[in-house]
C-alpha cells in the first residue's frame, strides 16, 4: 500500500504530473488558453523546486522501492527543474514569434520534466527505462514542433530513428544486467561485489552506458546532436541541451561512480578525450550559431565524462556543479539566440542564426551583447564565471584519481574552445554590421530568464561554495 509519508516525499513529482495532465486538459477544452497554461506551468515548476527544499525525507525508498529520494537525486532534480523553469519562461515569446503557440508545448515540457525526475529518482532499471522513454518521446515531439520548417521535421525524424535504435542498446544492456545480477534494483546490484568481475555484467553496463551516452552526445554517439539542435525550435534546443543532459548524467553518474571498475575507466577516458577533441575541433569551423553551440555542448559532455571517469567521491559533486553552471550559461546563450532569431513566415530555414548576424550586436543592443559575452566567457571557462569553477571541480576530481594526463588534455582542449567563443565576441563588439538595421526587441519573460541566468552565472562564479552550502545545509 502507498502510505501518506510516501506521497509527501513524492510531492514534487506529483505536482509536475498533475500540472502536466491539467495543462493538457485545459488546452483540450478551452481555446486560446495558452497564457493560463503558461502560468500553470511556471507555477508548478516553481512549486516543485520549492517543495524539494521543503521537509523531504533525506534517504527514502518510496512506492515499493521504485523511487529513491536522497541527496544526490534531489540535487540533480533541482538542477533539472531550474533548467526547465528558465527554459519555459523564455519559451513563451519564442513560440509566439514562430506561431506555434499551442498549449501542448507546455504540457510536453512538463511531461518531459516528469520523465527526468522519474529517471533521476529511479531505484530500479524498469522505472529508469520508462522515465527515459517518457523524456525522449516528449523531446522527439518537441523537436518536430515547428512543422513548417523542413529542418525541424528532419531533426525530429533523425532524433527519433537514432533514439529508437539506441533504446535497443539500453534495453539489451538492462536485460544483460538483469540476467547476471538477478535483480533490477541498483542498491542490491551495487552491494553484490562479485558482479563487477563478471564480463557479462560489464558488457551489460557498457551497453547501458551507450544508451545514456547517446542522450548526452558522447562521441561516437553524437551524430544526431548538431542536426537535431539546429533543426529543433531554439527554445527546445535549450531545454534538450541542458535539462535532457542533466537527467541523463544525473541518472548515470551516481551508478557508474559507485561501480568503480578499472576497465570501464579506460574506455570512458578514451571516449572523453575523443568527445572533447571532436566537439571543440569541429566547432571551430561552424558558421551557424546553433550548430556551434551544439558542438560546444558535445565538448561539454566530454568534460562531464572526465568527471565521471574519475569515479571517486568528488565526481558526483563536480559533475553536479558543472551541470548547474552549464545550465545557466548554455541556456542563457540559447535564449539569446532565440531572441535574436528573426521570425520568417514561409521559409524552410531559420533566419538570423548565422555568426554574421551577430556582427555589430553591441552597437544595436549593448545589454544583449554584454549578456552573451558573459555566457560565452563562462562556457569557455574563464574566471570569474561559474563555468570556470565547473571545469575546475571536474578536473580536480580527475587529478584526485591520478588521471593527470586526462586533465591536461581536457584543459588544453578547453583552451581551443576559447577561440570560437571569442570569435563571436569579436564579431559582436568589433565588427560593423553589413545589412540593414533591425531593432531587436527583448520580450519581458525572456529578459527575466536572461537576467536570472546571467545573475546566477556571476553569483556562482564569485561564490562557488554557495552551491555546496545550498545542497548540504538546506537539504540535510
Amino acid at each position: 500500500m502507498i502510505t501518506l509519508a510516501e506521497l509527501v516525499n513524492a510531492v514534487p513529482l506529483l505536482i509536475i504530473a498533475i500540472a502536466a495532465i491539467l495543462t493538457l486538459l485545459i488546452t483540450t477544452f478551452f481555446k486560446k488558453s495558452t497564457d493560463v497554461v503558461f502560468a500553470v506551468t511556471i507555477i508548478s515548476l516553481f512549486a516543485a523546486i520549492f517543495f524539494y527544499f521543503g521537509d523531504l525525507e533525506k534517504d527514502a525508498l518510496i512506492f515499493t522501492e521504485s523511487l529513491r529520494i536522497n541527496m544526490v537525486s534531489i540535487m540533480f532534480s533541482v538542477i533539472a527543474l531550474t533548467a526547465v523553469f528558465i527554459s519555459v519562461l523564455s519559451a513563451k515569446s519564442y513560440i509566439e514569434k514562430e506561431e506555434i503557440n499551442f498549449g501542448e508545448y507546455y504540457s510536453l515540457s512538463l511531461f518531459a520534466t516528469l520523465g527526468m525526475l522519474v529517471m533521476i529518482h529511479s531505484a530500479n532499471l524498469i522505472v529508469l527505462f520508462i522515465g527515459l522513454e517518457l523524456m525522449s518521446i516528449c523531446f522527439f515531439v518537441l523537436t518536430g514542433f515547428l512543422r513548417k520548417r523542413v529542418k525541424s521535421n528532419e531533426g525530429a525524424l533523425k532524433y527519433f530513428l537514432l533514439g529508437a535504435f539506441m533504446t535497443g542498446f539500453l534495453l539489451f544492456g538492462i536485460s544483460l544486467i538483469y540476467g547476471t545480477s538477478g535483480t533490477l534494483d541498483f542498491i542490491k546490484m551495487l552491494q553484490n561485489q562479485s558482479l563487477v568481475k563478471q564480463p557479462l555484467f560489464l558488457i551489460g553496463v557498457a551497453l547501458f552506458s551507450i544508451g545514456f551516452f547517446f542522450k548526452m552526445g558522447i562521441f561516437p554517439f553524437h551524430m544526431w546532436v548538431p542536426d537535431v539542435y539546429e533543426g529543433a525550435p531554439t527554445s527546445v534546443t535549450g531545454l534538450m541541451s541542458t535539462a535532457g543532459k542533466i537527467a541523463a548524467v544525473g541518472t548515470l553518474a551516481p551508478f557508474i561512480v559507485n561501480t568503480n571498475v578499472t576497465s570501464l575507466k579506460v574506455i570512458f577516458s578514451v571516449l572523453a578525450v575523443l568527445t572533447m577533441l571532436f566537439g571543440n575541433v569541429i566547432a571551430l569551423s561552424q558558421v551557424n550559431i546553433k550548430r556551434l553551440l551544439a558542438f560546444s555542448s558535445i565538448a561539454s559532455a566530454g568534460y562531464i565524462l572526465v568527471g565521471i571517469t574519475a569515479m571517486n567521491e568528488f565526481s558526483v559533486k563536480g559533475v553536479a556543479f558543472y551541470l548547474f553552471a552549464y545550465t545557466f550559461m548554455q541556456l542563457g546563450a540559447f535564449i539569446l539566440v532565440s531572441v535574436i532569431e528573426k521570425p520568417s513566415d514561409s521559409s524552410n530555414d531559420y533566419k538570423g542564426v548565422n555568426l554574421d548576424d551577430y556582427k555589430g550586436l553591441a552597437s544595436k543592443n549593448p545589454s544583449l551583447a554584454v549578456l552573451l559575452t558573459i555566457f560565452l566567457f563562462s562556457l569557455g571557462g574563464i574566471p570569474p564565471f561559474a563555468g570556470f569553477w565547473g571545469k575546475y571541480y571536474l578536473f580536480y576530481a580527475a587529478i584526485k584519481s591520478e588521471l593527470v594526463w586526462l586533465s591536461v588534455i581536457a584543459i588544453l582542449l578547453s583552451i581551443i574552445s576559447i577561440y570560437y567563443y571569442l570569435k563571436i565576441i569579436v564579431y559582436m563588439w568589433f565588427s560593423k554590421e553589413s545589412g540593414n538595421e533591425v531593432e531587436i526587441v527583448v520580450p519581458p519573460f525572456a529578459s527575466i530568464a536572461l537576467y536570472i541566468a546571467a545573475g546566477l552565472t556571476i553569483l556562482f562564479g564569485l561564490f562557488p561554495n554557495l552551491f555546496f552550502v545550498m545542497f548540504k545545509t538546506v537539504l540535510k
Binding site: 518536430g144 563478471q198 564480463p199 557479462l200
Partner: protein, 164 residues
C-alpha cells in the same frame, strides 16, 4: 533420444533465426515483413517453451496482430515502396567481417565465462494472476508511468498530424 521440448526448442530457434536472416537479407520489403511474421511467431513459441504463456500470447497479439499489421499497412499505403529495391549488400566487407567476428568472439567468451543466474523451472503455474498482482503492487509506479508514456505518444502523434 532427446526430450521433446529440446527438439521443439531447436525447431523454433531455427525458424526464428532463419527467418530473421531473411528479414535482413531479402531485397523485397514484403518478403521482409512476411519473414518477420514467421520470426516473431517463433519467438512466441520459444516463450511458450519457457512456460511464459502470457508473454507468448502478448507477443502474438502486440507484435503480430499490432505492429506487423501496421508495418504491412504502411508498406501497402506507401506507393512504389513495394517495388523498390532496397540495398541489403554491404559496401565494406572487411571492416564488417572484422567487427562482427570480434563481437562473436566476445559473446562466445562471455557465454562460457559467466556464472549464469539459474533458477529452477516452475511447472504449470498460472502466470497471468501473478503478473497482474506484480503490476499492481511492486511495479505499480512504472505501470502508471507507462500509461503516461502512451498518452504522450498519442499527443505527439496528433501534434504531428494536425494541420500546419
Amino acid at each position: 533420444m532427446p526430450e521433446l521440448t529440446t527438439i521443439l526448442f531447436y525447431i523454433f530457434a531455427f525458424i526464428t533465426v532463419g527467418f530473421a536472416i531473411i528479414v535482413v537479407s531479402t531485397k523485397n520489403v514484403m518478403y521482409s515483413a512476411v519473414s518477420l511474421f514467421m520470426s516473431l511467431f517463433g519467438i512466441a513459441a520459444l516463450f511458450l517453451l519457457l512456460r511464459a504463456d502470457f508473454l507468448a500470447l502478448t507477443q502474438v497479439m502486440v507484435y503480430i496482430g499490432g505492429i506487423l499489421v501496421l508495418l504491412i499497412f504502411g508498406i501497402m499505403l506507401t506507393t512504389k515502396i513495394t517495388d523498390a529495391e532496397i540495398k541489403t549488400n554491404n559496401l565494406s566487407y572487411i571492416p564488417a567481417a572484422f567487427f562482427t567476428t570480434g563481437i562473436f568472439v566476445i559473446l562466445i567468451f562471455v557465454l562460457y565465462t559467466t556464472k549464469w543466474n539459474q533458477k529452477t523451472p516452475i511447472q504449470n503455474e498460472e502466470t497471468i494472476s501473478q503478473i497482474g498482482k506484480a503490476l499492481l503492487s511492486s511495479y505499480v509506479l512504472p505501470f502508471e508511468i507507462a500509461s503516461i508514456v502512451l498518452l504522450v505518444a498519442l499527443v505527439g502523434a496528433i501534434m504531428f498530424s494536425r494541420k500546419k
